[in-house]
Symmetry: D2
Subunit: 377 residues, 4 copies
């Protein structure tokens, strides 16, 4: 099948997340990176393009130039989709321009800096009828998709409690002075990172996984955040109480100062009949617990899985696939949408997930600022 021509904004030399997107797009094999604006420094951008064997004339000085030139190219040759992998503050302006110019988008999270921007993008995507894929990567894991399917089928009975955790420890080395990573600096600066560090960067993933797997909406939050040290301006740690309905409550726990934790996301959904537990660091294991039967371990590449879960793992059982394949699964769904093929809801997170995420972040920050009170999401 003909590959979809893709451009990229950001993601030049040394950019970790841009490289992840390119790998994922190559794994999925539906995309061809043909150009972009890879760095604010044009010389660096050109060097990157050369390394990647990208035609120099499609390495643009600016997003505006890219839009202008690419828009003038004939269908089949021009870029169809653009991946935005810049620092957070640039997501919105670039996304807006590119949508207005008719490009499909793949966008890193958090989608925008404010809820208003997010809602503006949602309207724009609807109006323009374009594909907008937000890379909440963890939803690409087969066992997360299986979890969603099991819950949708009602296996858990009435859901009674939801608990999600996202613990990392990498900011310790920055705030305690043993290391100073560039990446650390912009993430701790409200101007570039937005209203929140911990909740904006990782708590929102936990939020997204809850809504993705359960199909439920979190209605209200009460948060207690911590900056851990006097001179830090953003939250690096926090707990968020969740309310879904009168008798369904839950909690999100997130931290960037849990020394030694790597990327420890866990998700547990407890029901009256059965429960599900999953952890990101061993993503190919999904545990179904019940009071009366032995715990069951679901794994990829088995006939008992839902079709979408099954399609997301291409190796035979027992050959572990990981985070790149999860992101590739999202790219795969995005490709189907762009091509107008049939796809399953949940094959890629949408602009609506981005709106939800921004609402979550801002509700959480507000709750904390106002003294740990309940705030509607």
């Amino acid at each position: 099948m003909k590959k979809i021509k893709m451009g990229m904004i950001g993601g030049g030399i040394g950019a970790f997340i841009g490289d992840a997107h390119r790998r994922a797009s190559r794994i999925c094999n539906d995309f061809e990176l043909v150009g972009g604006v890879f760095d604010v420094d044009y010389e660096k951008s050109k060097l990157f393009a050369k390394n990647e064997e990208i035609a120099p004339e499609r390495c643009y000085k600016s997003v505006d130039e890219l839009i202008k030139t690419e828009s003038a190219m004939p269908a089949g040759e021009k870029m169809e989709v653009i991946a935005i992998v810049t620092p957070n503050a640039l997501h919105f302006p670039f996304a807006k321009s590119l949508l207005n110019a008719g490009f499909h988008l793949v966008c890193e999270k958090p989608m925008t800096m404010t809820v208003e921007e997010a809602e503006e993008l949602e309207l724009l995507v609807a109006k323009k009828n374009l594909t907008f894929s937000l890379t909440h990567t963890y939803t690409g894991y087969p066992m997360i998709r299986q979890m969603r399917d099991i819950i949708a089928k009602g296996v858990l009975g009435t859901i009674q409690r939801i608990d999600a955790q996202y613990y990392q420890g990498w900011i310790n080395s920055i705030i305690h002075g043993t290391e100073s990573r560039i990446t650390g600096i912009w993430r701790l600066d409200p101007e570039h990172a937005g209203a929140s560090s911990c909740m904006g960067d990782i708590g929102v993933h936990a939020f997204n996984l809850i809504e993705y797997t359960t199909g439920l909406e979190i209605k209200e939050v009460l948060s207690d955040l911590s900056s851990v040290k006097e001179d830090i301006k953003l939250d690096l740690d926090g707990t968020v109480l969740l309310r879904f309905s009168k008798y369904l409550k839950g909690v999100i726990r997130a931290s960037q100062v849990c020394g030694g934790e790597e990327n420890c996301i866990t998700l547990s959904v407890y029901g009256s009949k059965a429960s599900l537990k999953w952890g990101q660091e061993n993503p190919n294991y999904l545990y179904l617990l019940s009071d009366s039967e032995p715990t069951k371990i679901y794994k990829p590449a088995h006939g008992y899985n839902d079709q979408l879960a099954e399609a997301g793992h291409t190796m035979p059982a027992g050959h572990p696939e990981g985070i790149y394949e999860a992101l590739a699964n999202i790219y795969k769904g995005t490709a189907k949408s762009i091509r107008g093929e049939k796809f399953t809801p949940g094959e890629f997170p949408t602009v609506h997930d981005g709106v939800r995420g921004m609402k979550f972040i801002h509700s959480v920050v507000k709750s904390n600022k106002e003294g740990n009170v309940w705030v509607k999401v």
Copy 2:
């Protein structure tokens, strides 16, 4: 060494927790059960005594009778210590009478129904200079003691976050009608169980483990509890935000409706230099995490452990010991105290831990009732 003569209040035929105490006391081998009031029904009590080859004349009709008769017996023959394993509401009156009569006590938790009662007992224990051992059993695990030692030595640096969980699922079968256990009934009745089900029965263990291992005091709590169903009067589920100091926060999560969870206690203490993680269902594994070194797994029966941790496991490494041995370790410490031998603080939980626990339970209930506000512990 001469065994300590022990009496027991409660714990007759069919009583699970009384049996556990007797097994533990036999493992530790410092006690001899010589009599008691095993059941409110005297006939049943006598039957129990007969089964256990206990002298019929020391199977008493009431606690008062026990006190009167035993007190009159010569030293070396009379009971020195009494284990109270009755339903919660009876702990206080019996403990008070027995302390006043000069008996050492082993008491099940929760220690009392109110904070005032707890404080009264604390004063009484001090005044009478008696041993009061509260069976927060989990503190008897060798790796919990090792955790306490590692933290005391400052290995973690500044503690930055504390997270404890206690999830069970057994109440599901009662509230959803598939089963009806006797034990379930009194636990859901405020008159017998006290102000709280979930927090009073299990949340308080999580609280105790935090204070035990870290040596820190929780200053304030904010809770959100749930009764899960309309007709239930007590909390069966909840989350408690914790504040230790301005920059040290934490969370306790507890639930009795996490279907399929058995007795899933986890405790994580995160520091600026390193962190510790432990789980009750595999109690012989303690994980020390750091950002710069491989994760280390501490296990019992190794020379690298602290002396108290080491003494709490008698088999060679790799021969798993469990919950009965943990309780036996607490009995062992209690015996040392009764005999006036040297013991390490932490060898058994004291009446002060009981006061702390009652304060925790009542603060949590108050916070929830008043609309999820901060309450001093």
Copy 3:
């Protein structure tokens, strides 16, 4: 119920295995230790008796004296059962004398030094109609009993492969000179330990677990053993190929020089329809694997277990029990047999298991000595 009067041969001060037997007998609560010959040194034996509050007149100088004196005592007072926990070479002579004198026995493994001795005991037990309980402790674990039950019910289909491992590392510190334990010395001396160290001490447990759980007999073995160092006279490491029938093969791997391994026993039984895996260091988890369904984890204290498995765990689910409780389960079965109560085959290993074990050890040693050839068990 009236406790069974028990004597003990060996197991005095500092003896690890004797202490384990006493703890287990106290947990099970059907026995009362009333006397014995606790040490070859009579003074030490008396000191031990005093510490344990055992009547001094029942601390005997020799097994002969014990037999003579106890035999003369009235029923209800005299010892009914004797636990033999001496070094290996003494098991047989003491067992023979005691059986001839009409005592029931609990005996440590390996039961004897030779196959002939083992067979002599088997005949004697049958002739005397006494209870002989061989403490292959691991068969007391509830999940091993559950494994036996699942296999007996045919859940696995045709068994196609059996793999058992028993790896320890503790001899390293002795043979490489960093430590020198008393216990190490007799175990490396053929006169006291018998024909084999590794296979006789631990390999035989793996053998026993295979025959216990599957109900199959191993027909032939081919072994390759290693003494690891020039100056060691016994095997410290080895692999044994197993043949059950033409198309059912298996393997036992055992070693005492696997540095860092504690007591790593694993047992896997693979069938045409399903398979079972178990590991001793986390004994409360039994894994049922199949090609078409999620892996199932069986745990104790659930209604889905077989009755014998269920009875072997007294705490609620999720409260881990361990090796002492496993041994207590064997003592419990032994008590039932002594009392003439109904018991399930498999509640305790018998003299026949001891004969099988001795045959295994001697076949394995022979196969190795003759150049790794097949030898009938």
Copy 4:
């Protein structure tokens, strides 16, 4: 950097392993698939080429045609490397022709059908001075590379025992008639699969991992293989005793009939000072055990790892990478070699590993056929 032009023999529509190679080559990003002979059926081959947007003129009818046409193309345009992913029996003739024509090769294992063929290829590679990369994929895992490094540094002391396992269960569904996969058929046919099924397909991976990580050579083997059912001509299960030297022994256990096992490779290397354990299904965990210190868990993306291990994982710690990334690491090393860049021994398995593998397979088959006797590798 300019991509290396790659051709492929085999791997057309529906071919699992060809797809894996293409994904891996795209992840590594040093290769561009420009043509090949994708299927014996030329029409299917052309369809595949079309789907992949490969120039139709470079979809060849035969390997001979490919050689002829590509050899005539100018440097920079012609294929430099060919990936051979055909059924086993075709590896040798194609490899020989392609090496003679001067192409670098990536070849699936087993490399050939006989030892002689393997040795012929080894000579040819040396003579032609070409890169020959054998895809023993598991050597591409970062923690396998870390294992090799730790052993090379002498951390384990004297190695005392080596134990490797490779258990799968997928053939059950074929031999017991519940399923019939095409892939199953050729694998059970000696003409296409070679002298062995289980040992040739998977046992050889275990062999390779042992020699790769330890740097040791297995000198002799004694095997006991099983075809499991009467009508099967090849081994589906077996155990192989290993001898490295007088006091260093080991074992390889492999089976394709372990129902429910997915791809359960484990590797344990036990030394006098410390030991290492690794399992393929959770490939990012490497356990270092010692008698005197807590077990250490090595994971990717940490500064404590060796450079090669570290380079093989591109995501931050805790973001699991899997089997595709392992294969991509081998492709990366292959690319360095083709480009004449500096690379570390072990970055990709070579033709010599292929010779060793064939010797292993044939020794094992011979040992079994001759009655389970020792055979030199």
